[in-house]
């Protein structure tokens, strides 16, 4: 579409009518193969373009965006119109800088044939059916690439591109009075996804859930898997967001430099790891990406900011600007988050639990008060642990606690093994205690 010419022209138009401006053009092409109820159901493709304009006029920000290339000339007018009411611009658009390159683009991904995933999907379903023919399988593959171009009146001109591959497999087993869905998935910027690992995990979860177990209402230690721990740590991410901090809703807003978590709890954001989906040399506002300690040995080290929130806080921008689908004003978002592992093996952690729960997956995540850290979640999939062994699936069971308190005084163990969940979160198994458990 001649991205570059188009973006240049738009920036030039905007520049004559505003103090400063920025143009972002992105386009993507992704394909997908989906199996539903163990049958190949649909192959799809998505072609997308988006042009966004952000400008500063009379000290205020105006934004406009469209996916209609024919009407690009309308963008300047729209952005100027809304700038009259827009938020005060506290920032300047970033200048060009040194960027650290990171591998996120593999040109071969786009070319993978549908046929390959059709065959692979059939193979995976056969594999699961050999294990248990009654499981209905849903398998999804999505792959493609996106390119974006960012120009601003501070002289920045930077192009970025990334490829992506998503894979997920979900097994579904329905009996009267007992329905169980078990899923596993991986995301990467290239085809290094371990399909077999995911399939084996699904089988393992079904095996562990074969028998049902009971637990009495009370307080127990709970092992969170790397995936389910994401639901707990999300409260910490919200509190560390520069935006939550400047808006006054963060529990950590006045805790910078203080130890508020267990000394074994360390969390890093690193957007410079090859092939991870949160990686990139720049953020969505053109700021260079760097590694950032969020929590080090229990101490709050840094909040993460985009241009506007950093300016509001009077803090240094950390390069965490993320833009939504409308290319509007950014908000802070994380790249790849890594939680430090501990010393014990997962096996030894499990075998040390006399009575407790292994929590794989929750229902009801995100319904809780996002600021307090109080969570209560239904165990979509979780098992009872007795004398260091998994004895069966727990149903109709809820767990509750406070993320901040538990990660301060209730962090019992972190496993030495870590796993990547999705393509951008790396985490060990985490034991928290005491967690309130309510059983129906």
């Amino acid at each position: 579409m001649g991205n570059y010419t188009l973006a240049k022209k738009l920036l030039k138009q905007a520049k004559t009518k505003s103090t400063a401006a920025e143009v972002v053009c992105s386009e993507g092409y992704t394909r997908g193969v989906s199996f539903e109820h163990s049958k190949l159901k649909i192959i799809g493709a998505k072609h997308s373009v988006l042009v966004g304009l952000r400008l500063i006029k009379n000290g205020r920000v105006g934004v406009a965006a469209t996916n209609d290339i024919r009407r690009i000339d309308d963008l300047v007018g729209k952005a100027l119109a809304v700038s009259e009411f827009g938020p005060e611009a506290l920032f300047e658009f970033p200048k060009a800088a040194e960027y650290q390159e990171v591998a996120v683009f593999d040109s071969s991904v786009k070319g993978i044939s549908e046929k390959k995933f059709v065959d692979l999907g059939h193979k995976i379903i056969n594999d699961i059916h050999e294990f248990n023919p009654k499981i209905l399988c849903h398998v999804d593959f999505g792959w493609g690439e996106g390119r974006s171009l960012l120009l601003n009146t501070s002289g920045l001109e930077v192009e970025d591109k990334a490829s992506s591959l998503d894979f997920s497999v979900l097994g579904d087993w329905v009996k009267e009075g007992d329905m169980l869905s078990v899923g596993e998935g991986k995301t990467s910027c290239r085809e290094d996804v371990d399909y077999d690992f995911c399939v084996e995990r699904v089988k393992e979860k079904f095996s562990q859930a074969k028998d049902t177990a009971k637990i009495k209402t009370g307080q127990y230690p709970v092992i969170f898997t790397p995936s389910s721990f994401g639901s707990v740590i999300s409260y910490i991410f919200t509190a560390l967001s520069g935006k939550t901090v400047v808006k006054g809703s963060s529990k950590l807003r006045d805790k910078l430099g203080q130890r508020v978590f267990d000394k074994d709890f360390s969390v890093i954001d690193d957007g410079l790891i090859d092939w991870k989906t949160g990686s990139g040399k720049i953020d969505d506002e053109g700021v260079s990406v760097k590694k950032l300690f969020l929590i080090k040995k229990g101490e709050v080290k840094n909040f993460y900011y985009d241009l506007q929130s950093a300016a509001q806080a009077g803090a240094k921008n950390t390069g965490h600007g993320v833009r939504g689908a409308t290319a509007a004003l950014g908000s802070p978002g994380l790249h790849n988050v890594l939680v430090d592992g501990g010393k014990a093996s997962y096996k030894s952690i499990l075998s040390g639990i006399e009575e407790g729960i292994l929590a794989e997956d929750f229902l009801g995540v995100g319904q809780d008060n996002p600021f307090n850290g109080d969570f209560s979640m239904n165990l979509a999939l979780g098992y009872k642990i007795e004398k260091g062994r998994i004895v069966g699936r727990l149903k109709d069971t809820m767990i509750a606690g406070n993320a901040f308190e538990l990660l301060d005084k209730g962090l019992r163990a972190l496993s030495q093994e870590r796993e990547w969940v999705g393509g951008s979160f790396c985490c060990p198994y985490v034991v928290l205690e005491p967690v309130a458990v309510v059983s129906a």
Binding site: G44, D172, K247, G364, Q367, M398
Partner: protein
Amino acid sequence: MLNQLSDAIAKYKKRVDYLEIRAEESEDTNVQFRGKEMESVSQPFGHGGCVRALYKGGWGFVSFNDLTELSSKIEEAVSQARLVGCEKSQLARVEGVEDDVKVTFKNDPRKVALKDKVGQMQDYHRQVWEASSLVSDVSVVYSDGFSRVYFVSSQGARLVQEFSGIMTGFSVVAREKDLLQRNSATVFDQYDYSIVETLKPKINERVTMAADLLKAKSMKGGNYTVIMDPVMAGTFIHEAFGHLSEADHVYENKELCRIMKLGRRVGSASLNVVDEPTMKDGWGSYDYDDEGVKSTKTYLIKNGILSGRLHSRETAGKMGETPTGNARAAGFRSRPLVRMSNTYIEAGKASFDDMLKDIKLGVYACSFIGGYTDREMFTFTPRWAFMIRNGQLAELVRDVKLTGNVFKTLDNIEMIGNDLRLKVEPGMCGKGGQHIMVDTGAPHVRIKNITIAGQ
């Protein structure tokens, strides 16, 4: 536009069993205040389309922004479908309708100056901050949207439908030391901008509630008799039961077909549950679904008996049932899935006092923040709740979350109120990554033995 789409289809329809094109033009206005400041104002506009092809039971689906390359996109969808198809295409037969559905605004938001919309939100933003000294974060949002959707199929459908929606709402976080509580309210209408003015009285009410919740205690976890208010009960029926009646979960799952067999008793004889996209002015209302099927009212539960389910043309065709017009897509990027519209419990006979009087220890759960379901299990969160002690409403409690098993819970419905409320919340229901407009409704409902998580 319709002719352009029809012509494009004509060239390819012989190569597949079924072919459709949807195209969409849209314009929106969004205003948001967050914290102390204006957060954003935007007026995105766009267009795009999608092609869906069916060949021997296999689907191809391509979405795009640029309609000038329509032929190549159809070609792509056709070859995808041909790669997938290996059985028989079974779409329930429907008439190929021709229609032009226009939006008739009572007060057209497009004729209201942006300045006035922003000004109104600015007033609300100030009012929320002024409502209590405990307010620590505020979000005020306004949005309106207008879209025109064109639909043409190889089986003769030629449709143009306009859609619109206007909503405004706020949420507040009240804070005392390290304790934070939130509350919110939203108002909406499809055709009338003046709805925006009705948010005003809710501001003081909900900010006060958030402040009161700061003083409330958490409740003790356990099993309780619960009275749900109409908003909560509507959410309950949508989440806990409605999703199970979407036929795309059921049609290729033999065991679930058996469990969801029509004619099965699922609740007491006074329980009636309806999905009604034809409701006038409902947030989830529409004339035709995204397969061009005329919408209809469907009884999901009648007199306690499972009596119907929601269908796309494919699920109806494969199950040998009548299509209901419930295949809906969240815009041109998405293929239609079986979805609810306005789903509600019909009124019963009990008064609120009847429900309350013999409860020794129970919970009155009001309004809702969110809900999830994993088919048989559900969990949801009221915005606030009161204890019921000895037949009387007692103290406010915070951070209450309800959970249970769908079938047991339906069977545990003890009383259905005579005070049905519709058009309660502008819901956005998520499924398969697609969020669409839905509404729920219900009278007060009393249910025994619901599990509540607590500290």
